[in-house]
Symmetry: C2
Subunit: 456 residues, 2 copies
Amino acid sequence: MSENTKELERSAFEKLEAALKNNDIDAFRSEFMDMHPYDQTQFFLKMDKDDRRELYHFLSPDEMSEIFQNIEVEEEDYQDILEEMNPKYAADMISSMYTDDAVDVLNELDKDHVASYLTIMDEEAADEIKELLHYEEYTAGSIMTTEFISIAANQTVRSAMYILKKEAPNAETIYYVYVVDDEKRLVGVISLRDLIISDDDTMISEIMYTRVMAVSAAEDQEQVAKKMKDYDFLAVPVVDFQRHLLGIITVDDIIDVLDEEASDDYSKLAGVSDVDTLDKNPFSAAKKRLPWLIVLLFLGMFTASLIGRFEETLSKVAILAVFIPLIGGMSGNTGTQALAVVVRGIATGDLERESKWKLLLRELGTGLITGTTCGIIVMLVVYLWQGEFFLGILVGISILASLIVATLAGALVPLLMHRLKIDPAVASGPFITTINDIISILIYFGIATAFMSKLT
Amino acid sequence: MSENTKELERSAFEKLEAALKNNDIDAFRSEFMDMHPYDQTQFFLKMDKDDRRELYHFLSPDEMSEIFQNIEVEEEDYQDILEEMNPKYAADMISSMYTDDAVDVLNELDKDHVASYLTIMDEEAADEIKELLHYEEYTAGSIMTTEFISIAANQTVRSAMYILKKEAPNAETIYYVYVVDDEKRLVGVISLRDLIISDDDTMISEIMYTRVMAVSAAEDQEQVAKKMKDYDFLAVPVVDFQRHLLGIITVDDIIDVLDEEASDDYSKLAGVSDVDTLDKNPFSAAKKRLPWLIVLLFLGMFTASLIGRFEETLSKVAILAVFIPLIGGMSGNTGTQALAVVVRGIATGDLERESKWKLLLRELGTGLITGTTCGIIVMLVVYLWQGEFFLGILVGISILASLIVATLAGALVPLLMHRLKIDPAVASGPFITTINDIISILIYFGIATAFMSKLT
């Protein structure tokens, strides 16, 4: 199935390339305009610069906007592609995009370029875009679009359908119609489904749903995404504090938000700045990983200097060194587990319903259970295998204590960061691991030094 | 905003509870039926058993099904809740659910219960459900629903709209209408948007889109989700190998799939079996974490026994022990980074477009760059700070070698697992970390033992 699709795609792409080379605009358009915008975009991204310059002669700015709102390239590449076009063509194309997508593109450009495109394009589109450019990144306002359909409550289904037909070509979704009062305040919503099954003469006010869930323009996009996911909405209205309808957010944008946030949490747990853009070469890959590695390197050297203080203990009982990676590794792992549970809990909002003390108490209990289990196993193995009774007890107790502290630390750090309004996912896996390394080594050598006499 | 919503919710919930206590069915229904199904579900989940038994008298099986298809509880709880109901009521409720949701619920029950509910419910619904129960978990077939609208190509927009109005109350989405031939094979699709803006007398065959993207029933749900995300579809048709239309998958189910898969990858990177269900007590939390911890514990003891072989080296140069956590930690971190990049690349499909050798070569290059940088930093710090020239070189070279090997291992392991058709995310962070621990310690002590004479 999927192989077939790829085959088809390849032959379509070859036809298009041939048409471009022969400057055959009709052959090109008859094939190209029949493709889904996503496939058009895939073709666009595979073209070289010269072919793209040719393409801009074959497509209107409006047709080109369908492609451009789908592309996802590196920040600097947006500017490069726009500069291949005539500035007026580029401005027209941007003004043809849905406002939310236009704003996304402009946000990638530097201020001078934004200003110049806004000056060239038609005033109405420029004004709408300017309004949306004000909203802070990652808020509902920054991802909403202004292409929605609104109607008044005191009209019939028939007249509502008439408005809908007229506005359908420009609206981002026609599947929800929003009902506003004289002052443009949101008072109701009606789905196209309900419009269709209702009688033509029914008044909108009779069938509209008045308990509309709306989000504020300043609300965090992740919260909005969570609401839409819970309520299975295809779109949600965005309002200001007087409940004036400002725009709508559609489900396709929400899918992108959910995807971004998930990949962001994942990246941070792994200690890479961004796992999702594929690296072109080792240098771009190293650039994303080195900052984390260098910070962790210095934390690791701090750990080394801590162990250095116990050099005397170590030179007397060299076997102590053997268990350093085991104890450090176990507390790192258990800390990462607790961290992941709390970070996800904060992200999904599940933790909001629970008291923080209860959570910490539960993590303490979890650490006690896992610590006791692992401690006893280690003690038995060291004792039975190596015949070392005191060493077994020492390592076992160190594991017990380390796991309790590490589990608590793993839960506490993201909670504290959340309280301090820092994204808790920044307390990533590697950091928690390294911090727990330090704590566990202090515990291990602390206990070892205290019981020195038993070991030698 | 959000505080306000919570306030409102609380007062609505109190009203509902009072109505239930007073056995006031009218007061209850007038409040309850006006709530969104998601909120109804939230209320349902907060009720105790006795109140729920009362509720089943207040709501029809059909009304109850709206609530039930939204609940997400532990496996065993589904059965418990169903058993509170009269069996006939439960069966009617299940048959009122959209088929995909009914199947989801039945999949949580044991076989005897499934059989008994299917026997009680009306035959048509039971047959539809039985068909879907055959599909393997995580395939397109398992998440599709059969409540779609299909029409023939040789009819007008007017007659299509007539069918749509008639079927709207039962269809899961009416925003796409599928066009099938006499043998029920999928030949086209038309959106409600296009139907609405078209003239009533237009023939469907003239305006339908014939290059319909469909997925096969056996296709992996993650692949389907990726396609819907890329193409911004609200629904996608599912077909068999003769392109017979079997069902559709709607965007709300796809959001759940994306969420599940992301949280699954995240859980595995952290080494917890499931981060998303909130733990009720320390025992359930420990149960999810201990299996991983115990495996890692034994791997860690293997590492310890490896270091044990170098006890002679260690007892001569105790300072060697000081750098064990640093070298092990660094290679663990860099391995996790490479792992995360490859696992996400496989999940998003980005890696499909690239040769595996090119990827490994790039990771080798990345390891070389990060290894050289970190190696030089460590060497300088050890030399300048501790005045130990040979020790600095030893630790630096060990870091260089470990980082190269660890980066390659981090990339290679998930690639191999993917080739062997094992979910690459299972090669989770903690495993890669522990394996890299072992490799790096072998490198470190190997080099140290070879250069012994320079160190003592």
